[in-house]
Symmetry: C2
Subunit: 460 residues, 2 copies
């Protein structure tokens, strides 16, 4: 009897210990399977080198959707569906270019090219370009101070991407507003175009695009990002007190909406199939690169988790949806549609996870959840540490899963890979396959798989 | 009185809390200083693009020594000295090449080039090259089984670099013996040359060199590393049962020893100057690349820590030596000399730290020390976590500091950056500046600076 009592007292700890062993064995199996498979590399190769840049509405978007459905099927999805949504169709329309002119000390006018890339959604300059004097500002406060000088001018937002944040997305978070609404804020005072310092601290001169949002009340004016070495050149000339004239050529235009799709693979739940866990990334990318990091990595990870789960014969209790979202970059129509359809179909959603911060070596997960739920996640940390995840932090989940998570008030999260290299390639021409390390990407997938497995098994 | 007692009881905790605040403030200052400075990038640029590959004995080694002394002075060293040591002088002597020939299904002989790179220290093939049948082995066990077939043959060590280790250096640790002594082990049975699968799991076809060590009792035969895509080609032909003949041309030779130097910068201790803490990396690199990761990163970090310490007016209690070691790659003469001189001069050494695992984002430190000392280090972890280091693990310190640590039986350690990308570039042509992210490298330097600061302040 005494032994039985002791045993009864020990049972929870024993079960816990046995669970821990089982869980760590399963995660190791996932890791071995993914690290030794070539599928992730082959998928990323196809998406980047055979399809390439795949902005919403483009022919490449359609190729990517078709490929994505096949890849999910080949990975073993129980079911693959295409969820239709209308997407914006912005086109660059030509090769963006710009030059600046200033007087040298001997009074001659010198004209030098600068490296620019029109911001997504922005209007073009017209065939003759836009030529005007440059007014530099370092902040919106300075813009307001100079509001009377802006009429007919090109505003140059020279806002440094701060280097002393260890987590680089903090610098992005501070500055991205200048890319997003800088054009409209300047147009309000009569500016005719804007140049924006690229959202990066890279050592090269690649300009970094990204979407802008025109505010309805003001004229739409062209906007372009400038490479950092040319920003330094401009800053140096302006610091010398030189008057600078810029000549900007961009060709962007918004065409009628196109039919796009979220591509959805599913593993049907074995115990509570009505409960849905979502994992995904976004299939679209900018037009000027291969979208290898943003977000080829998240797409390949999503498919890879499905493949490994099926290869290992894993049967989750809940239904897991592997979603390749449409149009994250300049509209979020895919993520919005996914939430709308969920509500319309009376689905039950319990958790959502995204990877859209690059295929870099994993560090942690940011989770939008209560402290209690976060503590539960933290209690699993020892299971993740062998694979690089050492923290669960409070923070946003991914953009695409935001709408469904908001609609259901469920916890959601995002893989947080190491952030140092992200803004070297983000929305720039060098976001290519060669700048992804496939093992780092795989480690991200392994940690995501582990999190999905634990949430499915223990709830959150 | 009661209040005084309470205060007395609280004092250790208060001191501890105050120390913690002071320490974390200092480390943040180091971080801000290093992350916002351009010196690290400029130094790495000079070392890689202006000097380049700098194998022991080469003219570039001498340029690097001169540059290193200047860089340490500019960083603010109290004293810079050159510590002479004789170094081996191996030269590649020409462009390594190889081809393999086999019969196609229609009976014709097909000859295809394969991508090879002679191993460091290896002898050349002679001007006509070495042509012989290929015998493949997957292990030394298989070599022994086939020992009667090896006379006059070229042995091909096709030993997979295992992919399921999360920490890639574990795969290297398992396989490097084939590169190190594979030639002599095969020569023992009459083989005339060896080809070794490159120590990597990269997706390209770059061969990876590295030093070999001839065992005295056997003939010296040429040895070369083969790129992975060509290894797959060879394996596939051999798996089909084809007889393969290889023709290998290498030109390596060992010239007389040259005069080299450890380049040493110093911050003199303010309290216990006789106690010496050493930090360093190695200045030499392989000849075929820029040595950006191996070990330009460690060199630049070493200089950067010195620069930041001086810029912040930090005065350590102990003397800190910043050492750019000579000849790690194919001799370890620099590290050996450093220990000999320390003993000869009756120096007192207390701790040594190295960075020679790349300038990748930091993960932890491996420390060769007792568990008690390791626990002390672990108690500091919260101070490192904001900068990426989340673990102190038992393990080796760096190669260069091994001799001094062994001579003094002191704890020593090595920065452990994320290991996924290391073997993509290790000893291959693509170990260049472009494959280093300067912010990741800087984070390594920040964590190393933090460790030196804490060891100096609290002892170990």
């Amino acid at each position: 009897m005494k032994k039985l009592v002791v045993l009864a007292l020990l049972m929870p700890a024993l079960i816990y210990a046995q669970d821990y062993v089982n869980d760590s064995v399963f995660i190791r199996q996932v890791s071995d399977n993914i690290l030794t498979s070539r599928t992730a590399y082959n998928n990323l190769f196809h998406l980047t080198k055979k399809i390439g840049g795949r902005l919403a509405g483009s022919p490449q978007m359609k190729m990517a959707e078709k490929w994505g459905a096949q890849a999910l099927e080949q990975a073993g999805a129980d079911k693959v569906t295409l969820q239709q949504c209308m997407v914006p169709h912005w086109v660059r329309g030509g090769k963006d270019k710009a030059s600046v002119a200033y007087k040298t000390s001997d009074g001659k006018v010198k004209t030098i090219p600068i490296n620019v890339l029109a911001l997504g959604n922005s209007v073009g300059s017209g065939p003759k370009g836009i030529k005007a004097q440059v007014v530099r500002v370092h902040s919106f406060d300075e813009l307001e101070e100079k509001k009377d000088e802006l009429k007919g001018k090109i505003v140059f937002y020279s806002v440094p991407f701060e280097e002393d944040f260890v987590e680089t997305s903090n610098a992005y978070g501070k500055n991205v507003i200048y890319r997003a609404v800088g054009a409209s804020r300047a147009a309000k005072y009569g500016a005719v175009a804007v140049l924006v310092r690229s959202m990066t601290h890279s050592v090269d001169n690649n300009p970094h695009t990204g979407s802008l949002r025109y505010l309805d009340s003001f004229p739409k004016i062209p906007a372009a990002a400038v490479g950092l070495r040319d920003v330094e050149k401009l800053d140096s000339l302006l610091n010398e007190g030189k008057a600078i004239t810029a000549h900007l050529f961009t060709y962007g235009k918004m065409l009628p909406d196109e039919v796009g799709h979220n591509v959805i693979g599913e593993i049907k739940g074995s115990g509570q199939p009505e409960k849905i866990i979502t994992v995904g990334g976004h299939l679209d990318s900018w037009d000027v690169n291969e979208g290898a990091t943003d977000d080829g990595a998240g797409i390949v990870q999503t498919i890879e988790i499905l493949r490994a789960f099926k290869a290992l014969g894993y049967k989750p209790k809940c239904t897991i949806r592997f979603v390749l979202f449409a149009n994250e970059e300049n509209g979020l129509r895919g993520g919005t549609k996914y939430a709308e359809e969920a509500k319309a179909n009376n689905e039950t959603h319990v958790f959502a996870l995204e990877s859209d911060a690059g295929g870099f070596t994993p560090r942690g997960f940011s989770i939008a959840a209560t402290q209690e739920k976060l503590d539960k996640l933290k209690s699993w940390l020892a299971l993740f540490q062998p694979y690089g995840v050492t923290d669960f932090m409070v923070g946003g989940g991914g953009a695409d899963i935001g709408p469904v998570a908001e609609a259901y008030k469920i916890p959601y999260g995002e893989l947080r890979p190491d952030s140092q290299r992200y803004f070297d390639v983000h929305h720039a021409v060098n976001d290519v396959l060669e700048n992804v390390n496939i093992r780092e990407l795989k480690l991200g997938a392994i940690n995501m798989a582990a999190l999905l497995y634990l949430v499915d098994k223990y709830g959150i």
